[in-house]
């Protein structure tokens, strides 16, 4: 176990987003994640931090890695994890979100992890339950645990976040990962840029504290970290961008475009990747440059920390 820092606890009931969190709260979660990451590297045994606690994974949207990551994190901490996916539940039968929340609340879980395809839905649900709620992604709004694990990965490679130049590239408009990362990186003192075609950059995003670039060459100049975003299949042909080949040519990351950035720039991707759309296949597999698989590894540690921080003793 690493040394305990001054942060005594996480001061909020829920983790609904990064926006509004103080640096102390974020650092508390990241430090706790570091602790678990170190533990996982050396140990294979379950902990009993959350023994006899019950967590519900409530996923209204398909997910493999996030759901599995939370499930694994809970199990590593000794909690009982329940998975509810939309297909097999009463939500399909027409139950409203609020009714679902109240029903689950009546079962007295210790924590609910929620993903929903509508922005703000997780907050609505959190208002109707007594336990803590973790947002595992709400529409294009926020995905706080992803931002935390990205920062943890950056910290492990770059030692600090303050002062780094970070570029987030691709479909900013529809990305919750982008929004959470913008808040988190700005809070910790990084310089954040977004790069993409104007059709994928939402209005007045500058007000969130970023610089906007439409060309990779200009946007990637001197950056330390590049976060590539996934381009959804249905947005590829003709609606937001003309075609895959055009997108890859001007916005796909390959070794040539990578030379615009710092020579030791780190490449992140929240997954799942579209090889040959937003990222060159060879580059994605280059372990020196891309930390894509390290991100997945850190994901479990971050979720362990979040579960631990939000489950309160009764």
């Amino acid at each position: 176990m690493i040394e305990e820092k001054v942060f005594k606890n996480y001061p909020h009931k829920h983790l609904l987003g990064i926006e509004g969190l103080l640096p102390d709260s974020i650092n508390y979660l990241i430090n706790l994640s570091k602790k678990y990451a170190n533990y996982l590297e050396d140990n294979n045994q379950k902990l009993d931090d959350l023994k006899n606690k019950t967590c519900i994974n409530l996923f209204f949207e398909n997910s493999t890695r996030t759901r599995t990551s939370f499930e694994l994190a809970g199990k590593k901490l000794g909690a009982d994890m329940l998975n509810i996916s939309v297909g097999s539940s009463s939500i399909k039968k027409g139950e409203t979100l609020i009714d679902t929340a109240m029903t689950l609340n009546a079962m007295q879980p210790d924590l609910i992890v929620v993903r929903h395809n509508d922005a703000g839905a997780v907050k609505l649900l959190s208002e109707k339950v007594n336990c803590g709620v973790i947002n595992a992604g709400d529409g294009p709004h926020e995905h706080p645990t992803q931002a935390l694990l990205d920062s943890l990965t950056i910290l492990r490679r770059k030692k600090t976040i303050s002062g780094l130049k970070v570029a987030i590239c691709g479909d900013i408009m529809h990305s919750r990962v982008a929004r959470s990362n913008i808040h988190l990186l700005n809070t910790l003192g990084a310089e954040v840029r977004v790069i993409g075609p104007a059709t994928l950059i939402p209005k007045q995003i500058e007000s969130m504290g970023v610089k906007v670039f439409y060309k990779m060459k200009e946007g990637l100049k001197d950056v330390d970290v590049i976060i590539m975003l996934r381009l959804q299949l249905e947005r590829m042909s003709g609606s937001f961008v003309p075609s895959i080949r055009e997108y890859f040519r001007y916005y796909g990351l390959n070794n040539e475009k990578l030379t615009y950035a710092q020579s030791d720039a780190l490449v992140l991707h929240p997954g799942p990747m579209n090889r040959g759309v937003e990222i060159d296949s060879e580059l994605a597999d280059d372990l020196d440059r891309s930390a894509i698989f390290e991100q997945v590894q850190m994901g479990v540690a971050v979720r362990m920390a979040c579960l631990k921080a939000l489950v309160k003793d009764r």
């Binding site: 104007a198 060309k215 003709g238 609606s239 961008v241 003309p242 055009e246």
Partner: protein, 438 residues
């Protein structure tokens, strides 16, 4: 490919000295008697009294003639591929060269439409074979010009597309237009709009009003043009993308664009000779050769278009060259195609503004050379040392009668047939080669 006189596309290098012509320089805003020395592809020198070795240079006396940059025509339908019975790249280039047009910018309404880089390459290859006027392309905004999904705009630009337009179709879906403007803004592209609300002009044949009513034809209201421009201006205000309106024809359009320019929006526009020379009365006897898109408007509209040209609201004059074979025009008015040829009449029609409406000669020439060239980002449309020698030599006063049967264009559907005009192109130089001599 060998061409007969008066055309010449031989690659033999000949150097020329044009003596004593009045050189119209739209960049410097001057008309001065000078000699022009053309060596290889470029203008080597431009000053008074140049003397050279007569064996090495062919000397042409241009006394009493004007020398100006070659015409850049930013709205031409070339017919090839797909409509070779109306026009081919070869016949369009011949028409252009004889009319003094050294750069033609073709619309993407070919068949297949120009919505991907490969088609641009094939047109350029063909144009190199013909080797008369320069041929540039625009690309479609939407795939198949169907107005739904945006094309590979950036790739097409890399392959030479100067701007993007659905040609004779308006992008009527505001969401698609917004995305196109937004996307083009990312790489400083140019979006060119044919302004016509399709729902309002559906089945319309002529300008809505007295003429249409008397003739029993369905009308197209003037505001069908204005409302698309006004709608697009909202999108331009938001996206800041460069936006060009094609062939405006109405009073309202002139007023809207005049105001938008005053507001500092990145907007430019053009019109075509029929809209400042003719009005809807030319349709008398159901003359299908005067059936154009947009339709000929009222005398009031025509005067506003002239006013727009005089005060600089209208940046460019285009030929709006739209070739149609006899079979497409010798039909009942409702069934005939829209459009007229114009490459060979663009210069004299523009000069009418000089003769009759007190437009200065330099301004008139700028409208068909420097201005379009600047909007499209071309390096032509200028006459200065070390630039490529795309030049024309014309006689400002020479009277002649437009006879469509003498056109080099494959199609003869001119709305100006049998009109008497003054001013004629005599020589056309493209990249230093004399490609046409009257």
């Amino acid at each position: 490919m060998n061409l007969k006189i008066p055309f010449n596309n031989s690659k033999l290098p000949i150097n020329y000295l044009l003596k004593n012509g009045s050189v119209i320089d739209p960049d410097k805003n001057t008309i001065e008697k000078k000699d022009v020395l053309i060596e290889g592809k470029i203008i080597k020198d431009l000053k008074k009294n140049i003397s050279v070795d007569e064996k090495k240079f062919k000397i042409i006396d241009c006394n009493n003639l004007f020398i100006s940059p070659g015409i850049v025509d930013m709205r031409v339908n070339i017919g090839e591929p797909g409509f070779e019975h109306k026009e081919t790249i070869k016949s369009a280039c011949k028409a252009a060269a004889s009319g003094g047009v050294t750069s033609i910018v073709c619309m993407p309404n070919t068949n297949p439409v120009i919505d991907q880089p490969a088609i641009i390459q094939s047109i350029q290859r063909k144009a190199r074979e013909v080797s008369l006027s320069k041929v540039f392309c625009t690309g479609c905004i939407t795939r198949g010009a169907e107005g739904n999904e945006i094309c590979e705009l950036q790739l097409m630009r890399e392959f030479g597309a100067l701007g993007f337009t659905d040609g004779n179709k308006s992008v009527s879906n505001a969401r698609v237009m917004k995305r196109a403007l937004n996307y083009a803004k990312s790489f400083d592209g140019l979006i060119i709009q044919h302004p016509e609300e399709p729902e309002l002009s559906q089945e319309g044949m002529v300008n809505e009003g007295e003429s249409a009513t008397r003739m029993g034809l369905t009308g197209i209201p003037t505001y069908s043009e204005a409302m698309i421009i006004e709608r697009d201006l909202w999108l331009v205000r938001d996206t800041k993308c460069r936006y060009h309106v094609s062939h405006i024809s109405t009073k309202e359009s002139v007023e809207i664009i005049r105001k938008a320019k005053k507001d500092g929006l990145p907007i430019t526009c053009d019109t075509a000779p029929p809209y400042f020379i003719l009005n809807e009365l030319s349709l008398e006897n159901y003359r299908t050769f005067a059936k154009l898109s947009p339709p000929l408007r009222t005398e009031e509209d025509r005067n506003y278009i002239i006013g727009g040209i005089l005060d600089g609201t209208i940046d460019v004059i285009v030929s709006d060259h739209t070739p149609h074979d006899q079979d497409a025009k010798r039909l009942p008015f409702n069934q005939a195609e829209f459009g007229g040829v114009g490459l060979e009449t663009l210069l004299p029609m523009t000069l009418i503004l000089v003769k009759n409406y007190n437009l200065s000669l330099i301004k008139a020439i700028s409208l068909i050379t420097k201005n379009p060239s600047e909007i499209l980002g071309l390096e032509t449309g200028t006459i200065s040392p070390d630039s490529e020698a795309d030049l024309i030599v014309f006689d400002l006063e020479k009277p002649w009668k437009i006879k469509s049967e003498n056109f080099h264009s494959k199609s003869k559907n001119s709305p100006f047939d049998n009109i008497l005009v003054q001013g004629r192109n005599l020589m056309t130089f493209v990249r230093g080669r004399l490609v046409y001599k009257f």
